[in-house]
């Protein structure tokens, strides 16, 4: 995915989103998740996807099934308690759709090499402050993570925290004060830095020459997403593509 041009990348994401919402079949969603997992693995993003599944999707799925299959015992629009299995299947459908969207988002956004990030965002039409904000969003996650790690290191270094991961988890609330103050201080200092250095203009000028984008990779990416859209439409409205 790293060589997919910006426009094809965005088109792929949009088509994937539309197709996912059209589709009602659990089996198809599972097949798409498997395909996404393979693509994510080729871009070395599988660990992030698995983390997303374990820490976000799994708890959410359990909650959705509990609400629709056990509390409401019916899918939306049906009388409560009339169809527990239908309620659980509805929860599963929502959960799998969100999994596909999460995976697609990770594949499209996280596979952008940092060197090509400004060019890709510019290719999506972002300019001026919008471009700066988008770049900041990409840069802030690793920075926040590093800062949080430094704070945990500082607590350990002062003997305020054990060495285990569980001890680290228990200390998460303790991270908040220094992290919050750091965010505010960072924002204040950087506002000054950006103004003094005319950062808005500089971001526009980031190099774009000889970017290794491949139109072929873009075509393949869009074709596969269109294929998924066609399958979703064919199963949702069988007559529409003459497949009845």
């Amino acid at each position: 995915m790293t060589r997919v041009p910006p426009v094809a990348r965005l088109a792929t994401l949009l088509i994937l989103i539309v197709a996912t919402f059209i589709n009602l079949r659990l089996q198809l969603l599972l097949a798409v998740i498997a395909a996404l997992a393979i693509l994510l693995a080729t871009d070395h993003l599988l660990p992030k996807f698995l983390k997303f599944l374990a820490f976000v999707q799994l708890p959410m799925t359990v909650m959705l099934i509990a609400v629709w299959g056990w509390v409401a015992k019916a899918p939306p629009g049906m009388p409560m308690g009339s169809d527990p299995r239908g309620g659980a299947m509805f929860a599963l459908l929502i959960s799998l759709r969100l999994t596909v969207l999460g995976g697609a988002f990770q594949l499209i956004m996280l596979s952008i090499p940092s060197r090509l990030l400004p060019a890709t965002l510019r290719g999506w039409g972002l300019r001026g402050e919008g471009l700066v904000v988008a770049l900041g969003v990409f840069a802030v996650e690793p920075e926040l993570k590093l800062r949080a790690e430094q704070i945990l290191v500082a607590r350990r270094a002062r003997g305020l925290l054990g060495g285990s991961r569980w001890a680290g988890l228990k200390q998460l609330p303790r991270l908040l004060r220094p992290l919050f103050v750091w965010s505010i201080r960072s924002a204040v200092h950087r506002a000054e830095v950006w103004e003094q250095r005319a950062m808005l203009l500089r971001v526009q000028r980031l190099p774009t020459e000889s970017l290794p984008f491949s139109p072929f990779a873009g075509a393949v990416s869009v074709t596969f997403s269109l294929l998924w859209l066609a399958v979703a439409i064919a199963f949702r409205w069988p007559g529409l593509l003459g497949t009845r």
Partner: protein, 411 residues
């Protein structure tokens, strides 16, 4: 600082490429430089002691940060040689936040120079640099061509610089009264009130450590550290000084080798900070509480309030007990962070760049505090580029280079 001070400063800078301002802590040097860049921001850049904030926060690699400032591909701009001189080329693919303090300073200085500002105000930002990088940075500041008319520098190590640079005293620029109330000096005699501790002998045997596969910073280090001594750990920026401190404090687990504490093999990472407390360079990541009183541990009950009070007074923090540590000026935050590490009375104390933001008088007093701790049987390891501190301490020297540590005892 008044407009008049700024005008006096600009007049003093006229015809010079670099001008240094001398003055003690809390005398208003930072206010003057900030004011200089705030009044007419066009073409004037301020680079403060918290160098990391001088980077854009918009990039995920050193290369990209430089390209952002250069406004084009690095290969086509003239800063590649400067990057090489500052040893930044080997770090091009690293995230700016992962660099050591000295490396971040080099990057921040180079980014500022690339912009060719009319005036570059460097406020105590060069204190984390080793002597070679300091010389290189001054060379770059001096030799920058283009519309840059000059650099104004404040630094607490001015008297240690080998290069002759015109210096103007702050008192000559600022007839205004001081903005900050006087802050008490450090009081090393307070350390005499502490009880002695029993620090163990720490022995490293073929210790290898780093941050991930294939990136070992320390390679097969063997070293014996005796208690009740002061060790000074020296080496170029990015050579692994902080990594060794992390290993000794148990924050970082070695990938190979073993550590003996009083001749018993120990896993320090199970109880980090207990045998060796480690004060990090950046004070802001090590301040967690809402008041200085709580930060020094008076509330925890794990140490006596008596010891905490003695250390608070040793660092001149009497008047700040109720203050929020994170809201204090940088030099005071640094003092709070140092005091908080020492207040837990770990048998070994490791201080990473304790003199950042400290003026000459504070550095000498800090050296006396460290010697006082050593008299109380604490083992102390000091990482510093401050020649004044190292001269007063005259501790056993640990020199680190190419992943190896060698020890030498001063004559």
């Amino acid at each position: 600082m008044s407009r008049k001070s700024t005008e006096l400063l600009l007049a003093a800078l006229k015809g010079k490429r670099i001008l240094a301002i001398s003055g003690p802590n809390f005398s208003g040097r930072s206010d003057l430089l900030r004011g200089l860049c705030r009044l007419v921001s066009d073409g004037r850049i301020y680079l403060g002691p918290e160098v990391y904030f001088a980077l854009s926060g918009l990039t995920t690699s050193v290369r990209q940060e430089l390209e952002l400032h250069a406004g084009g591909a690095l290969e086509s701009c003239d800063c590649l040689e400067s990057a090489e001189q500052l040893n930044l080329t080997r770090l091009f693919e690293h995230h700016p936040a992962t660099l050591s303090g000295g490396e971040q300073t080099c990057l921040a200085v180079l980014c500022a120079i690339i912009l060719k500002p009319k005036i570059l105000a460097v406020d105590c930002a060069l204190e984390q640099l080793d002597s070679h990088k300091l010389e290189t940075s001054l060379d770059l500041l001096h030799g920058t061509t283009g519309p840059m008319s000059g650099a104004v520098i404040t630094d607490n190590r001015l008297d240690e610089w080998t290069r002759a640079i015109p210096i103007v005293a702050l008192a000559d620029l600022s007839p205004d009264p001081r903005r900050h109330p006087p802050i008490p000096p450090l009081d090393p005699s307070q350390i005499d009130h502490l009880d002695p501790v029993s620090a163990p002998v720490i022995e490293l045997q073929n210790v290898t450590a780093g941050y991930g596969r294939g990136s070992d910073v320390l390679r097969g280090v063997s070293l014996t550290l005796q208690p009740a001594r002061v060790y000074t750990l020296q080496g170029p920026n990015g050579s692994g000084k902080s990594t060794l401190a992390k290993v000794l404090s148990g924050v970082l687990r070695p990938v190979a080798g073993q550590i003996l504490v009083n001749n018993v093999a120990s896993n320090l990472s199970k109880t980090p900070g207990r045998i060796a407390g480690y004060h990090l360079q950046n004070p802001d990541v090590g301040l967690f509480e809402a008041s200085v009183r709580a930060e020094l541990g008076c509330k925890t009950g794990s140490i006596t309030a008596f010891a905490a009070t003695a250390i608070r007074d040793a660092f001149g923090l009497q008047g700040f007990a109720a203050s929020n540590p994170l809201a204090l000026p940088f030099p005071v935050r640094k003092r709070v962070s140092l005091a908080a590490t020492i207040a837990r009375l770990p048998p070994w104390i490791i201080l990473d760049e304790p003199t950042l933001g400290a003026d000459a008088a504070t550095i000498v007093a800090l050296a006396h505090i460290i010697q006082g701790l050593s008299r109380k049987q604490h083992g102390v390891i000091v990482i510093s580029h401050s020649r004044k501190l190292l001269e007063v301490l005259r501790g056993n020297e640990l020199k680190i280079e190419d992943g190896q540590v060698r020890e030498s005892v001063p004559a």
